[in-house]
Symmetry: C2
Subunit: 85 residues, 2 copies
């Protein structure tokens, strides 16, 4: 069993309306020190396989094909083996 953590973020220069909205909302709550907010996605995935190489290559394909939009988003992932359950 492998556990993967995938982080998907907008590429630099891409406008992030959700981040801008969050920044505005936090400022209206009185937090004045915020310089920038960028919103991304965090996906936790459990893979039921023994083969780390296969898991990694699958993960890369999944990110490129479905999870991230490579035109405007970057992705990175961490993968670690989980023993037991």
């Amino acid at each position: 069993m492998f556990e993967a953590k995938i982080y998907i973020t907008f590429k630099e220069g891409v406008v992030d309306p959700q981040g801008i909205t969050i920044k505005g909302a936090l400022e209206s709550l009185g937090y004045r020190s915020i310089y920038d907010v960028r919103m991304g996605k965090y996906i936790q995935m459990k893979l039921n396989t023994q083969d780390k190489e296969k898991a990694e290559s699958d993960l890369k394909q999944m990110c490129a094909k479905l999870l991230a939009n490579p035109v405007i988003e970057d992705y990175r992932y961490e993968i670690e083996e989980k023993c037991g359950k």
Copy 2:
């Protein structure tokens, strides 16, 4: 300047419809080894302050008040000092 990374995830036991949909979509693309997918949020925030303690306490409050829903979501954050710009 501090840079914070905030990870917001559903608490265990809370149904995650987005995660279930992603799992289904990946399976329909032929990835059979997926055991579980959980969708979360990943927020990158830049704080324009010199005071790390203040930055941390602000961050905690922001997560509890606005960024996460403490009834169904957990949050954690990392904070590090950035030199220069």
